[in-house]
């Protein structure tokens, strides 16, 4: 008998070792964030003093504020542009220039960030020379950079979802005379809402985390959180950063678990609804002919 569903001890060991590798550094960060000693790696008793000093660190707090504002703005723009782009890739397939379009969609995901950052900066400098705008580097230039990076990820998520879903629904609406824009908002959008939501969350985390592109695009007055972290850890370990990391892991952890739970629930509900609709459909089809037969016999 082939035993496909039971994990062999070897595979179990692989999983345990793999997850230890992935989580050991994160756990050590969390543990040592509660270290009373200023020497990050020497245990000096339990303390929450670094959390207190973190919340009094003006530089970090203002960087957090800026990063969150940039993340929300970029994720919003990336979701709009990325959804449209994903739709174009999934539904229109071939048009003039589609190869270039598809290429420009995948390249930002893998292109080393030193290249995208530098090239976008040089674009803004050239634009400034030609049109006088943007007059300085800051929120706007970072926003453009993050949006371009994130929209590629949104487009991939949305596109794969669009390929997955049943296109006959859209075709049926078209046959019934609905206009394309209406079809998109009434039929397509609800079906891909989950993909859009994950695209939005992914964009937020990508934007909040971006260091290299931001370094090229930010100006003197706009220092984001990763830039502050980078300038601090470049000088060595810093217990406040441990506290910050712990908070980050906590927030991300809650978000990922909650999103996973909600998605599983939504999927179950959808399956139930589809099953119920199928049953109804069967009953409806079975109904009329039998009554016709009975009336004929009467």
């Amino acid at each position: 008998m082939y035993n496909g569903n039971k994990l062999s001890p070897v595979l179990k060991g692989v999983l345990v070792a793999g997850f230890l590798f992935l989580y050991l550094p994160i756990v050590s960060l969390i543990v040592y964030s509660f270290n009373a000693s200023k020497l990050v790696t020497v245990w000096g008793g339990f303390s929450t003093r670094w959390y207190v000093s973190l919340f009094h660190n003006e530089q970090i707090l203002s960087a957090v504020g800026l990063s969150i504002r940039i993340a929300l703005a970029s994720a919003t723009a990336a979701v709009v542009l990325g959804t449209v782009a994903g739709f174009v890739l999934a539904r229109f397939k071939r048009f003039r220039g589609s190869t270039l379009f598809a290429g420009m969609m995948t390249a930002p995901m893998v292109m080393p960030e030193v290249i995208t950052g530098l090239s976008m900066l040089l674009l803004f400098i050239s634009m400034q020379q030609l049109f006088g705008q943007p007059s300085e580097r800051g929120f706007f230039t970072i926003w453009v950079g993050h949006t371009t990076l994130c929209m590629a990820y949104v487009a991939v998520v949305v596109r794969s979802r669009l390929i997955e879903i049943d296109k006959t629904l859209e075709d049926a609406a078209m046959d019934l005379g609905a206009r394309p824009l209406k079809i998109f908002f009434v039929i397509t959008l609800p079906l891909i809402s989950q993909a859009i939501a994950s695209g939005f969350l992914l964009s937020i985390t990508l934007s909040l985390d971006d260091l290299v592109t931001t370094a090229f695009l930010s100006g003197p007055g706009s220092t984001t959180l990763p830039q502050v972290i980078f300038s601090k850890v470049r000088l060595g370990l810093n217990p406040e950063i441990n506290a910050l990391a712990t908070i980050t892991v906590l927030i991300v952890g809650i978000m990922v678990v909650a999103a996973n739970y909600l998605m599983l629930n939504a999927q179950r509900n959808r399956e139930k609804a589809i099953a119920a609709a199928m049953r109804e459909n069967e009953n409806a089809q079975a109904g009329p002919p039998s009554s016709a037969v009975s009336s004929a016999s009467a």
Binding site: L29, F101, T106, P226, A245, V249
Partner: protein
């Protein structure tokens, strides 16, 4: 034919608008910048704002002069240090990819073969570090690997070693953290392929008397080829230009081109040189990016290569 094209062009303005919006954005903010990088790589460093010379100059008679300065490229191709740095970056990216594949494949395989109820939890556990800040995960290793770091402390207090191990700011720490940071990018595409695989193929192979190892090499491995290529490219391409990891945990002798570009730009303020370094890097990466793009597209369109 002409009418058809005319109709397509003018009767469906909606479609054109829908395509135009993201197209225009990417053209302006992603494609055009590369041309500007190429242009500025032919300029010279200058003490001005912005710090480079213009390629176009009008002479008194209204003559347009185009000056292409090839010195940056001559320098890159003539200087051994640059050649070594490119080679070293490619080597680091290659071995990082291989190690990610060797470690990531068994993990992805094990998750894909777990029963569906637990699979979701395991996948979530892989995703969690991926969603957590990249910078903070690199930072975490600094605390572990330092001479007076957590690992050395533990080993010394247990008495396994009497002197701290040297595992920080060298090749070991560079590779360790590179593999650590890029591992999720390898596991996720591999998992996506392995989970779709028809398990009955393995059952059939087993019934026909194939040993598990043989079945793996004859069935599982070829069927996950696209996942291997996609995952490898997702690790290899960004790893070539990686800056943060060599900067924070790499050794003083670690040559990585991302770091060179950063230094040329931020420390030497030599923008034309940074542009030339970027141009050569893009040329090196065009083939892998094309490969990645091809497999991604085919995958999404449901074709098997």
């Amino acid at each position: 034919m002409n009418f058809k094209r005319f109709a397509r062009k003018w009767l469906r303005p909606g479609r054109a608008t829908v395509i135009a919006v993201p197209y225009f954005w990417l053209l302006v903010f992603f494609a055009v910048p590369f041309l500007i990088v190429l242009k500025i790589s032919f300029a010279e460093q200058d003490i001005a704002i912005p710090p480079f010379t213009s390629l176009l100059n009008y002479e008194d008679g209204g003559l347009l002069h185009v000056t292409l300065n090839l010195a940056n490229f001559q320098f890159i191709f003539g200087d051994e240090l640059y050649a070594d740095t490119y080679l070293s970056s490619l080597r680091v990216a290659f071995f990082t990819t291989v190690m990610c594949l060797l470690i990531g494949y068994p993990i992805a395989y094990a998750i894909a073969r777990t029963d569906p109820a637990r699979r979701n939890v395991l996948l979530m556990l892989v995703m969690l570090p991926f969603w957590t800040s990249f910078l903070l995960r690199v930072y975490a290793w600094m605390g572990l690997l330092k001479p007076n770091g957590i690992i050395n402390h533990l080993l010394m207090s247990v008495g396994l070693i009497s002197e701290p191990l040297e595992m920080f700011h060298n090749t070991f720490s560079l590779y360790l953290v590179m593999v650590y940071a890029y591992l999720p990018f390898m596991i996720l595409p591999l998992y996506a392929h392995l989970v779709k695989m028809d398990i009955r193929l393995l059952e059939a192979a087993n019934d026909l008397g194939a040993r598990p190892l043989k079945a793996f090499f004859a069935i599982t491995l070829p069927l996950s080829k696209n996942g291997i290529i996609a995952g490898s490219m997702m690790v290899f391409i960004p790893a070539v230009g990686e800056f943060v990891i060599p900067e924070l945990v790499g050794g003083p002798d670690t040559l990585m081109i991302g770091k060179v570009l950063w230094n040329e730009f931020f420390d030497n303020n030599n923008w034309p040189m940074a542009a030339a370094v970027a141009t050569v890097m893009v040329l090196l990466l065009i083939v892998p990016i094309g490969l990645f793009h091809r497999y991604e597209t085919r995958e999404l369109e449901g074709k098997n290569v």
